[in-house]
């Protein structure tokens, strides 16, 4: 079954959806997603699944025209760090493909093999405006979790936008735990893996597999080649300031590395260094508790302060129901706007907040030319909203992915419709559809 899905994904991953429409949306309160403020009277033109133009004015170039009636029109939400599509029910093991504690493989694991576009959280999050997601595996017996993907949340079986888009690694406390119990052990595991991967890269044929002379399997060593060369970003979950600085030091030791920090609760305390290193961040937006000893300085002002220091920072969710609730990133971004009214806090203006859930996560993983903004050439991921998309309770009225209009129903809307009146009427509920 999994093999079939994988084959389908590999075969179809670059094909444009068949049903892409040519659409012009006029009279929009248009949000580009690049951090700018909304503009009134905006027009978006989508042709062949891509954005042709987006801005004030602009004319239809044929196809379907939709009058947005002054409502918000935005790029689809890009959920910056999730486990969408690889988990149906967290607590039901066979439906949870996030981690593989008993596997001998680690960096070589490819999350697309576990991806199920029909997992119910896909439709539920789409209904709330999420069109793309960064999907990361969770780690098992190694600091390396495997290769993550960027996906779309369309109502089809062709979900993968970019397979093997990044490698994900646990650092800090979780990395220490996976490496055998300490941060030095995690560091040793990391260095050793990269040295072995370098050896593999020099001469793949002579690489001796795990259990003989190497700790890595060939599969894992191969997967780390892109990490070494910098073709593949290395997403690193790290929270404590000293650990963040440690990651920045790794970048100096392995110059090819393209680290992206995930979580980064104490990032604001070393924001200048992160900015100077040019390392992007997918930060937990509202983490403000000293939930662990590596998050003592956590504050909701983290993102605002990092941004002020010049860090490229989008919102990601880690350890935060990210297999099902990626849709909450809109609420999180709205809360960052709320902070701008609190003395001493660092908030974001509306446009900047919206960018943390569109263009900035896209940029963090090197996909800003494809997704996250409404600009010529970008994917046709467009949402028309019934209200301010950062305000609680606003939902899409129409949503396009690659120019294809998407259904906005899911299992939850069906349950709702069945039970609006809880009592049975005539026949058992099982007959009511």
């Amino acid at each position: 079954m999994k093999r079939l899905i994988l084959a389908a994904l590999l075969a179809g991953s670059t094909a444009l959806p068949a049903a892409a429409q040519d659409v012009t949306i006029t009279n929009a309160r248009l949000v580009l997603g690049d951090g700018s403020a909304p503009v009134e009277g905006g027009t978006v033109v989508i042709r062949g699944g891509r954005v042709v133009s987006a801005g004030r004015g602009g004319a239809s170039t044929g196809g379907k025209t939709i009058d947005a009636g002054g409502r918000y029109v935005t790029p689809g939400i890009v959920a910056g760090f999730t486990r969408l599509g690889i988990v149906e029910v967290d607590g039901v093991g066979p439906t949870n493909d996030a981690s593989a504690r008993d596997s001998v493989f680690n960096a070589g694991l490819d999350v697309t093999a576990g991806l199920n576009p029909r997992a119910t959280p896909i439709a539920i999050n789409r209904t709330d405006g999420v069109t793309r997601a960064v999907v990361a595996p969770d780690n098992g017996g190694s600091i390396f979790a495997g290769q993550g993907a960027v996906i779309d949340l369309g109502n089809d079986m062709d979900a993968v936008t970019r397979p093997r888009a990044f490698q994900f690694m646990e650092w800090g406390e979780a990395g220490a735990r996976a490496a055998g119990g300490s941060r030095p052990a995690a560091m040793a595991m990391f260095r050793n893996a990269l040295f072995e991967a370098q050896a593999y890269g020099r001469n793949p044929a002579s690489f001796v597999d795990r259990g003989k002379e190497a700790l890595l399997t060939r599969t894992d060593a191969q997967a780390l080649q892109g990490v070494l060369s910098g073709q593949v970003p290395l997403l690193i979950h790290v929270e404590r300031a000293s650990d963040i600085l440690g990651v920045l030091a790794l970048k100096r030791e392995f110059p090819g590395l393209k680290p992206v920090l995930v979580g980064a609760a104490e990032g604001w305390t070393v924001a200048q260094q992160i900015a100077a290193a040019g390392v992007p961040v997918l930060a937990s937006a509202l983490a403000d508790l000293p939930a662990s000893f590596e998050q003592l300085a956590a504050t909701q002002s983290n993102i605002g302060r990092m941004k002020a220091a010049g860090v490229t920072v989008g919102i990601g969710m880690i350890g935060d129901d990210e297999a099902r609730q990626a849709r909450l990133v809109r609420q999180y971004a709205g809360n960052l706007v709320a902070l701008s009214k609190i003395p001493g806090a660092a908030g974001l203006d509306w446009g900047a907040a919206f960018a943390t859930i569109t263009s900035l996560p896209a940029r963090a993983i090197g996909m800003e030319s494809e997704i996250g903004t409404l600009a010529a050439g970008r994917r046709g991921d467009v949402v028309i909203w019934d209200g301010d998309p950062l305000e609680i309770g606003s939902v899409p009225t129409q949503l396009f992915i690659d120019g294809v209009e998407q259904p906005l129903t899911n299992r939850q809307t069906r349950l709702r419709d069945r039970y609006l009146v809880p009592e049975e009427q005539g026949l058992p509920k099982a007959y009511q559809r």
Partner: protein, 475 residues
Amino acid sequence: MIRTLTMVALAAGLVACTGDKSEVRSASADAPAGTGKGPGAGKGYDHDPYPSTYRAYPGRATLVTNVTIYDGEGGRIDKGSVLFRDGKIVEVGQSIAPADGVTVIDGQGKWVTPGIIDVHSHLGDYPSPGVEAHSDGNEMTGPVTADVWAEHSVWPQDPGFSRALTNGGVTTLQILPGSANLMGGRSVTLKNVYGRTMQAMKFPGAPYGLKMACGENPKRVYGSKGRMPSTRMGNLAVDRATWLRAKDYDRKWDKYEADGGEAPARDLAMDTLRGVLDGEILVHNHCYRADEMAIVMDMAQEMGYKVTAFHHAVESYKIADLLKARGVCSAVWADWYGFKMESYDGIGENLPILDKQGACAMIHSDDANGIQRLNQEVAKVMASAKRAGMPVTPEHAWTWLGINPARALGIDKVTGSLKAGKMADVVLWNGDPFSVYTRPQMVWVDGALLYDANNPRLRPVSDFELGQPGEGDVK
């Protein structure tokens, strides 16, 4: 020790009951017949051995004017005023003349509500940082631990209390034991005011709760240990056997308290269940599935107690009519679903469907982050309600944060709404509290100003955070 004894008794089943009965006989036999010299109902032992030492901090007489008021009971006043003094609400009305010595706050463009009440929290019992040494919320050593009291685990230095106050406007919260056990122990209701001791935070006069749980957790935890219960039917069997023992215990103590004689042996777990049977302790029952809630309500009727509220209750919407008929509340999330099998059918319209049916409902957090945004969770519910064609007014929605949780905690006579004579637990919001862009500006508990966004000295810092990175920061 007591736990072990309880488990032995449970494992022995009916044998244990028979043993108890013979005890009753011998106790009665030892008592002087018909003397009527018992200590009196409820006086056989101390029901409050860890009494509250909470006292209100000093506050100024304060008049907040020009605000939109949601009173917590469904009332609303636009451009209204709230006056409180000596820790109590004095008056809530359209226009109140400022008396001498009253601090007047012009709330133009702002909102005033009662402090939020969270009926389901584990702050203090699962505090931050969440290290193993702090994991004090679940006595996972037996399926019935009605003998444990959550208050004996509360760490008053949990940094989470401050976040709930300053970001969440939460002034009262119930701390429950976890849900690993069928009967997880007693809850405690706290004022959200830091104290050196748990007792200093304890809500004066609030009744205790009993945390019960049905469904996956107890059967998973104990089934995986190869012991009962390992199924839902096992859950019920252990529950019912325990209630039968409790009824027996209750009878023995009732008789002793009335007639005197030799006091029956004390059993801390049975004390708690006796409190439930006597209506002194309120049952807060973690339960997800509609079918299970219906069974639990029948069990309560069978055994002679009442379920005050189902917590989580993600499928309450399927039986809203039954819950209404039985007068049982549901404390729910706005949008949680799918994290475990029994939460699979969670929908955003759970609370609106309950509310429309006239069943008692409220929001709850069960989460150290969620407790900081319960107003936003209600805003989600309102949006779902509107889309489903059953819109609710914001002033009505505040009952889910105000008087309804107060009722479920048995403290509605003293807090949960802005009514003259009640505790001055008050939040001034810097905008519409159902907007994502709004935060508390000031929070008073019993009339004492304990948070002011404009005053860094009024940001509580627990001992744990003192001298740490980020001490005293805006969080």
